[in-house]
C-alpha cells in the first residue's frame, strides 16, 4: 500500500510540476490529463485493495470526466485561441521554486493533520500539494486557460484528499463533485471562447475596467 501511495504521489506531483513548468497550452493540457489518469488508476487500485465496488465506479467516472471530457473541451478551447503559448508574469524557474516551497507546506500539513498511517500521510501530502499548487497556478498565471487548469487541479487534489482521509466515502460525494466538474468545464469553455473572440486574447490582466 505504501509503495502504491509513493508511486501515485510521485506521478501526481511530477505531472503538476510539468503543468507549472510549461507555457504551451497543449502541453499543460497533456500534463493535466496525465494527472487525471493517474488519479483514476490510483482509485482503481484502492478499490481492488479495499474490495470497494463503488470505488471502481468512481475510477471509471474519473477516467470519463477528468481524463476524457474535460481535456476534450479544453482542447477545443485551446485550438480557438489566437496563440499557442502563454505570456508569464513569473518566470518558469521561479514558479518551480515557489511550487517546491508550497509542496513542503503540503507535506507538513499532511503529517500534522492526517494521523500516523504512512500511506495516508503520503497520499495526503500529494492531495494537499495538488490543492496548493492549483491555487498557485490560478493566482500566478495571467491567462485564462492555465487559470482554468489550476481550478481543475484543485478539484483533483480534493478528490485525492478524500481518498486519503476517507477511502470509503459515499459515492454521493464524488458524484456531486463530478457533476460540478461537468458544469464547470462547460461554463469555463464557454467563457474562454467568448473572451478569446471579444478580446482577441486570454490575458486576464487586460481586464482592468472594473476597479475600486
Amino acid at each position: 500500500m505504501i509503495l502504491i501511495s509513493e508511486c501515485a504521489a510521485a506521478c501526481f506531483l511530477l505531472s503538476t510540476f510539468w503543468l507549472l513548468g510549461t507555457r504551451f497550452f497543449l502541453s499543460q493540457l497533456l500534463a493535466y490529463q496525465v494527472q487525471s489518469w493517474a488519479l483514476a488508476l490510483f482509485a482503481g487500485l484502492l478499490a481492488a485493495m479495499l474490495h470497494e465496488p463503488s470505488l471502481y465506479l468512481i475510477a471509471l467516472l474519473t477516467v470519463g470526466v477528468r481524463g476524457l471530457w474535460i481535456p476534450h473541451l479544453l482542447r477545443q478551447a485551446a485550438q480557438a485561441l489566437p496563440s499557442r503559448r502563454e505570456q508569464l508574469w513569473l518566470s518558469i524557474p521561479s514558479s518551480i521554486v515557489l511550487g517546491a516551497a508550497l509542496l513542503m507546506i503540503a507535506v507538513y500539513l499532511s503529517f500534522q493533520l492526517l494521523g500516523p498511517n504512512p500511506a495516508t500521510q503520503i497520499t495526503g501530502s500529494a492531495g494537499f500539494g495538488l490543492v496548493l499548487l492549483g491555487f498557485f497556478l490560478t493566482s500566478s498565471r495571467p491567462e485564462a486557460f492555465p487559470q482554468a487548469l489550476g481550478i481543475f487541479t484543485i478539484e483533483n487534489g480534493i478528490f485525492l484528499l478524500a481518498l486519503a482521509i476517507a477511502p470509503t466515502f459515499p459515492f454521493l460525494f464524488e458524484g456531486v463533485v463530478l457533476l460540478d466538474l461537468l458544469v464547470l468545464s462547460v461554463v469555463l469553455r464557454l467563457l474562454i471562447q467568448v473572451l478569446a473572440e471579444r478580446l482577441q486574447n486570454l490575458l486576464t490582466h487586460h481586464l482592468r475596467e472594473l476597479r475600486g
Binding site: 487559470q147 481550478i151 484543485i154 464547470l184 467568448v194 478580446l199 472594473l210
Partner: protein, 463 residues
C-alpha cells in the same frame, strides 16, 4: 417541498418550448407559485422543522427565511426581466436564453435551504455560481466578461475550500446530514471540526463576500443585468450564508462558542471596515450598492459573532427587501441615464417614481431611523457595547462612516447639481410593479415586525 422543486422543473421545459410571447407570463406564474408555496412552507415551520424523504429534505426556521428571500427575489426579478430584455432589444432566442438561465439559477437557489446533506448543499452552491456566471456575462461586453470570469475563478476556488471543510466534517463523524451532525456534535473529533469550520468560513465566506475574499462581488454585482444583480445580492448571498451558519452551529455545539464566534467577529468587522471605507470612492450606482452589500454581510456575520442570531437574521431579511428594490430601481436608470452617479444626477426629478424608491431605499439601507434596518442595526450596536465598550465604539464609528459616505454619494444621484433637469420617461410598469411591492414591504417592516416573522426569529434564537 416537492411541489416547490417541481415548479421550476415544469417551468424550465416550458421556457424551452413555449412561444416567445409566453415566456414572460410563464415566468410570472412560476415566480408567483414559488412565492406562494414558500410562504406556506414557512408557515408550517412555525410548528417545528419539516423533514421529508427520510430526512434528505429538511427545512428549519432559518432555512425558511432563506427560502422566502429567494422566492421573493424570483418573483420580483420575473417582473423586471421583461423590461430589461425590452430595453436591450434582445432578439427572441437571446431572450429565451435569458429566461432559461434565470429559471435554472432560481431552481438551484430554491433547493439550497431544503437539503440536509452538506455535500449536496455544496454542489448546489457551486451550481448557483455557474448558472449565475452565465447571466453575469449575459451582455458579453468586456466588463461583463471580466466580472463573470473573476466571479467563476474566485468563487470556485473559494468554494472548493468549503468542500474540504465538508470532507473533514464527514471524516469527523461518518455522515453528512447537518441535523445529525448538530445533534451528535459533542462526539465529533474536535480538531477536525475546528479545521472544517475555518475552511468553511473561508470557502462560504468567499461566496458571502466577506473581506478579504470579496474581490469578485463588486464586479459581478455591478455588471450583471439589474434583475440578476438583485437576485445575487438579495438571495444568493443568503444561500451561501446558510452554509456558513450551519458550520457555525455545528462548531459551537462541538467546540463551544469562543473560537467560532471570535472568527466570525473578526471577519465581520474587517468586512464592515473595508466596505465602509470603499463607499466613498465609488462612482457607479450599482457598484456603490455592491459595496453596501459587503457592509451588510459583514454586519450579519458580526452579529453571529456576537451570539445574536435573532438580529443577524432580521438584518438579513431587511437587507433582502431593501437591497433588491434598490438594484431594481438602479436598473431603471442605468440604461436611460447612465451607469455613474453623476450621469444619473437629479433622478428624483427626472424619474420621480424610481427616484422616490431610491430615496426611501437609500435612507433605509444606511440603517437610519425610522426605517426597517434601524432596529436590527441598533440592536447589533447595543450588543457590541454590551460585549465590549471598545467594540461598540468601533462599530458605532464604522456605521457613522457608512451613513455619511453613502448618503453623500447617494445625494449626488438623487439631487441635481444646479437647476432641476427635465423629466425623462419613467420605466415601464412591469419595472415599477416590483419596486412598489418592495417599497410596500419596506414600509410595512418599518412599522412592525410581523408576528410570523417574530415567531420564526424567536424560534431560531431559542435554538
Amino acid at each position: 417541498m416537492i411541489g416547490l422543486l417541481l415548479l421550476p422543473l415544469l417551468y424550465l421545459p416550458a421556457a424551452l418550448w413555449l412561444p416567445s410571447a409566453s415566456l414572460f407570463p410563464s415566468a410570472l406564474i412560476f415566480g408567483s407559485g414559488v412565492l406562494a408555496l414558500s410562504l406556506d412552507l414557512a408557515r408550517l415551520t412555525l410548528q417545528g422543522p419539516l423533514t421529508l424523504a427520510g430526512g434528505a429534505l429538511y427545512l428549519d426556521g432559518f432555512g425558511a427565511l432563506v427560502l422566502l428571500s429567494v422566492a421573493f427575489l424570483i418573483f420580483q426579478s420575473a417582473w423586471q426581466g421583461k423590461a430589461y430584455l425590452d430595453e436591450l432589444n434582445a432578439p427572441p432566442q437571446i431572450a429565451r436564453r435569458y429566461w432559461i438561465l434565470w429559471g435554472f439559477f432560481g431552481l438551484s437557489m430554491l433547493a439550497t435551504p431544503l437539503l440536509a446533506n452538506l455535500a449536496l448543499y455544496w454542489g448546489l452552491i457551486e451550481l448557483t455560481t455557474l448558472s449565475s456566471a452565465l447571466l453575469v456575462a449575459f451582455e458579453e461586453s468586456p466588463e461583463a466578461l471580466e466580472g463573470a470570469w473573476k466571479y467563476v475563478v474566485v468563487v470556485s476556488v473559494g468554494v472548493s475550500l468549503a468542500f474540504l471543510a465538508t470532507l473533514f466534517l464527514y471524516a469527523a463523524r461518518g455522515h453528512l446530514s447537518w441535523p445529525l451532525l448538530l445533534r451528535n456534535a459533542a462526539s465529533l473529533h474536535r480538531p477536525w471540526v475546528l479545521l472544517a469550520f475555518f475552511l468553511a468560513t473561508l470557502g462560504y465566506g468567499t461566496k458571502v463576500g466577506l473581506v478579504p475574499m470579496h474581490t469578485w462581488l463588486p464586479d459581478a454585482h455591478s455588471v450583471a443585468p439589474s434583475p440578476i444583480s438583485a437576485m445575487l445580492s438579495g438571495a444568493l448571498l443568503n444561500t451561501a450564508l446558510l452554509g456558513l451558519v450551519r458550520f457555525w452551529q455545528i462548531a459551537r455545539a462541538s467546540l463551544g462558542a469562543h473560537w467560532p464566534d471570535q472568527t466570525l467577529l473578526l471577519f465581520g468587522l474587517l468586512s464592515l471596515a473595508v466596505a465602509a471605507l470603499s463607499l466613498g470612492v465609488q462612482r457607479k450606482t450599482k457598484r456603490l450598492l455592491a459595496y453596501s452589500s459587503i457592509e451588510h454581510m459583514g454586519l450579519i456575520t458580526l452579529a453571529l459573532g456576537l451570539s445574536a442570531p435573532y438580529l443577524a437574521f432580521l438584518q438579513m431579511i431587511n437587507h433582502t427587501v431593501v437591497k433588491s428594490s434598490l438594484f431594481l430601481a438602479a436598473g431603471n436608470l442605468v440604461h436611460r441615464l447612465g451607469e455613474t452617479l453623476s450621469e444619473a444626477s437629479g433622478v428624483l426629478f427626472r424619474m420621480p417614481i424610481t427616484g422616490i424608491s431610491l430615496l426611501l431605499g437609500g435612507w433605509a439601507i444606511t440603517g437610519a431611523p425610522p426605517l426597517n434596518l434601524f432596529p436590527s442595526e441598533f440592536g447589533i450596536l447595543q450588543r457590541a457595547f454590551y460585549q465590549s465598550p471598545w467594540l461598540g465604539a468601533l462599530l458605532a464609528l464604522l456605521l457613522l462612516i457608512v451613513f455619511l459616505l453613502f448618503i453623500g454619494r447617494w445625494s449626488q444621484l438623487l439631487f441635481p447639481k444646479s437647476s432641476p433637469p427635465p423629466r425623462e420617461h419613467e420605466a415601464p410598469w412591469t419595472s415599477l410593479v416590483p419596486l412598489v411591492l418592495g417599497l410596500g414591504l419596506l414600509v410595512w417592516l418599518s412599522l412592525m415586525t410581523p408576528l410570523p416573522l417574530q415567531l420564526l426569529l424567536r424560534g431560531l434564537h431559542a435554538h
